[in-house]
């Protein structure tokens, strides 16, 4: 029982990257653009956030750099998939590969090490008095903001129209390409924040595999959420919680010998799969998801 409560603060941190990246992707998918390059976006922005924090001594500027990196990669993806009408999946795979290669080389070239650890001068400070990361508050706030934008504003209505039926939207004068680009850049920016959180707040290190699959878990979370940012927040928390709980059980209850660790590490995935399987029933995705729009 105690263990169930103890992992709560750990889960709050583990929730952040999975949720932020997923919420951003939810926004992009409403506009009809899939970006499976979340892992790459997180890797690249974690690296550039660390570089800027290290070079300027300001973690705040580092976070901004992470955000900007994510937005830029989003713009790149948008340019390929919206402007040039390229294959969105291939562009996303490219982003993931770019992340591994560029960051692996970048850390080595800059610091002579593939996974350097950052001194605490470059960390994001905790919220004074509470001892938790500011991202623990920022993440639900951004999930709420994104939900509000999507479902309570005219902008959101237009974004959803563009993802559902771009031709109709175009006919009534909604700028399809511009809105899709905006949605992908918005999604990339949130993925960039997730990356900055990884390097400057949670792990204090950079490497080419820093997200260790969390970008892909975020994609699963998008499906789980049925494109609802608030459900993505719940999904991120659930995954983080079960992940931490699995590791907690592995070490503390001394299960290591009795239960293979592979089984314990499976828990979060199984729990998430189970929830997705139970929740997926009424999921409905935008009709034009993944399809480039060509004006006739």
């Amino acid at each position: 029982m105690n263990a169930l409560l103890q992992v709560f603060p750990v889960a709050l941190r583990a929730m952040v990257p999975i949720t932020l990246a997923a919420v951003g992707e939810v926004f992009g998918e409403w506009a009809g653009v899939v970006n499976i390059g979340l892992e790459g976006i997180m890797t690249l922005s974690a690296f550039l956030a660390a570089v800027v924090s290290w070079a300027t001594g300001s973690p705040f500027l580092g976070v901004l750099a992470g955000l900007a990196t994510g937005a830029l990669v989003g713009l790149f993806h948008g340019f390929i998939s919206v402007r040039l009408r390229g294959n969105q999946i291939i562009s996303g795979v490219g982003i993931n590969l770019l992340g591994i290669g560029a960051v692996g080389f970048g850390t080595w070239a800059l610091w002579g090490a593939k996974s350097p650890m950052l001194d605490r001068r470059f960390w994001i400070p905790e919220v004074p008095g509470l001892g938790v990361s500011p991202f623990v508050f920022l993440t639900p706030a951004l999930a709420l903001l994104t939900w509000w934008l999507l479902f309570r504003t005219a902008l959101g209505l237009r974004v959803r129209a563009v993802g559902e039926n771009p031709m109709s939207a175009d006919v009534v004068g909604v700028p399809v390409e511009r809105l899709r680009l905006f949605a992908v850049v918005y999604g990339g920016a949130l993925g960039g924040l997730a990356g900055a959180f990884l390097s400057l707040d949670w792990l204090h290190t950079v490497s080419s595999t820093l997200p260790a699959g969390r970008g892909f878990i975020a994609l699963a979370n998008v499906v789980f959420s049925k494109l609802n940012p608030l459900l993505a927040l719940l999904g991120g928390f659930l995954f983080g919680y079960f992940d931490a709980l699995g590791i907690q059980l592995a070490s503390v209850a001394g299960l290591s010998g009795a239960v293979p660790y592979q089984f314990i590490r499976m828990i979060p995935y199984m729990a998430t799969l189970l929830v997705v399987a139970l929740a997926i029933g009424r999921a409905r995705f935008p009709k034009a998801l993944g399809q480039p729009y060509r004006r006739e």
Partner: protein
């Protein structure tokens, strides 16, 4: 037709002549990450560089892009026929390396962290990881007793023999230390040894979550035997220490393979060493000697394993500084913080360490074997 054959023959002779004049080459093949880990892989490279210099060889190296490429990469390297020795660095080459060695019997191979599979053209480079693990276990357990902790911990990577051997030694060393404490200092409770396998070598987040759970369970001395994953454990240890307002441990972490103290000066008390550089150097010597393959097992007697010395610490701080690593201060500050932490724990910890090391060198201590799943299960049951 004949003209073509003559031309080919001439070309072949010319080719032989050219290759005969060119410098002999060796090649390092890394299973993952490659150089830049400032640990296992960089030590392999360091050993190869030293050998290349001493024996006048040219050094090449390359890193696998995925496990699917292991065999085809190794085959293409062997196919060139240019290399006196191809060194496979990393346990993940366990299947591909012997297969390549069977396919290319004329090519000499070395396997860092693996056996030679009784192949005449391969040298297996193995380490008595138990020894380094046991030395770390002695220190971790005595520090834990000094601060009244109920347990010590370890964050491990994948369940493979080199990691098992570290774990087995760590468990044994901890139990030996509790006995030593009872004989030389005073009554002591039993210590538990909590080991968490994260399942990956490249997931610092997993390592951090694991270490946080260990710290909550009262294990404030944590050995990292998970490569990149245990960087997260280092971070958890520093964070817990800073949160308690300390500039050095406890909690303390312990590194593996390299002397990793510089990563978190003051919070990493020592490292279980494994001299990959020495092993690779010896492998090059073997390749030039023309002798048949065998298993070279390096232990403390050969200076192949050990607990990081002050000299090791200085070496790696300087190595990191030279590479451009973002150290927490000037090299001198970093070294002082590390040595300061060592002075902060009771003197008897180092006395016990020296005693244990003496017994190991004299062969008076038999460390448990942990090369198979059954053996490590036995060790876990015996030293829980």
């Amino acid at each position: 037709m004949r003209g073509v054959r003559v031309a080919l023959a001439v070309l072949a002779v010319l080719g032989l002549a050219v290759s005969g004049f060119a410098a002999k080459k060796i090649c390092l093949y890394f299973d993952q990450t490659g150089p830049g880990d400032l640990s296992f892989n960089d030590m392999a490279l360091l050993g190869a560089q030293r050998a290349a210099q001493d024996f006048g060889l040219e050094l090449h190296y390359t890193t696998a892009s995925s496990p699917l490429e292991f065999l085809s990469d190794l085959s293409s390297l062997a196919e060139t026929g240019e290399y006196v020795l191809i060194v496979g660095v990393g346990f993940l080459l366990f299947d591909a390396l012997p297969e390549a060695a069977r396919l290319y019997p004329q090519q000499k191979f070395a396997f860092v962290d693996g056996p030679n599979f009784d192949l005449p053209n391969m040298i297996g480079l193995l380490f008595k990881e138990q020894e380094g693990g046991a030395l770390a276990g002695v220190v971790a357990a005595l520090v834990a007793l000094a601060y009244g902790d109920p347990a010590i911990g370890a964050v491990a990577g994948m369940e493979i023999p080199p990691v098992w051997r570290y774990e087995a030694g760590y468990r044994f060393g901890a139990y030996w230390a509790v006995d030593w404490y009872r004989k030389n200092v005073g009554p002591a409770p039993d210590l538990r040894v909590l080991v968490t396998y994260v399942g990956r070598f490249d997931d610092p987040a997993g390592g951090k979550v694991a270490a946080e759970a260990l710290i909550r369970a009262g294990a404030r001395n944590i050995l990292g035997i998970a490569g990149g994953t245990h960087l997260g454990a280092f971070d958890a240890v520093e964070e817990a220490g800073r949160a308690a307002g300390r500039t050095y441990g406890p909690p303390f972490a312990y590194g593996a393979d390299a002397a990793q103290e510089y990563i978190k000066p003051g919070f990493i008390l020592g490292s279980a060493r494994k001299r990959v550089d020495t092993a690779v150097y010896e492998a090059v010597k073997w390749a030039l000697s023309g002798e048949p393959g065998f298993n070279l097992v390096l232990g403390i007697a050969e200076e192949g394993t050990g607990f990081s010395t002050e000299e090791d610490i200085r070496t790696f701080v300087e190595l990191a500084a030279k590479a451009g690593y973002p150290l927490a201060g000037t090299p001198e500050e970093v070294i002082n913080a590390i040595l300061g932490a060592r002075k902060s724990v009771p003197e008897y910890v180092w006395k016990a360490l020296a005693e244990f090391e003496g017994l190991l060198r004299a062969g008076a201590i038999q460390l448990p074997a942990a090369d198979t799943a059954e053996q490590i299960a036995e060790v876990r049951a015996r030293y829980p």
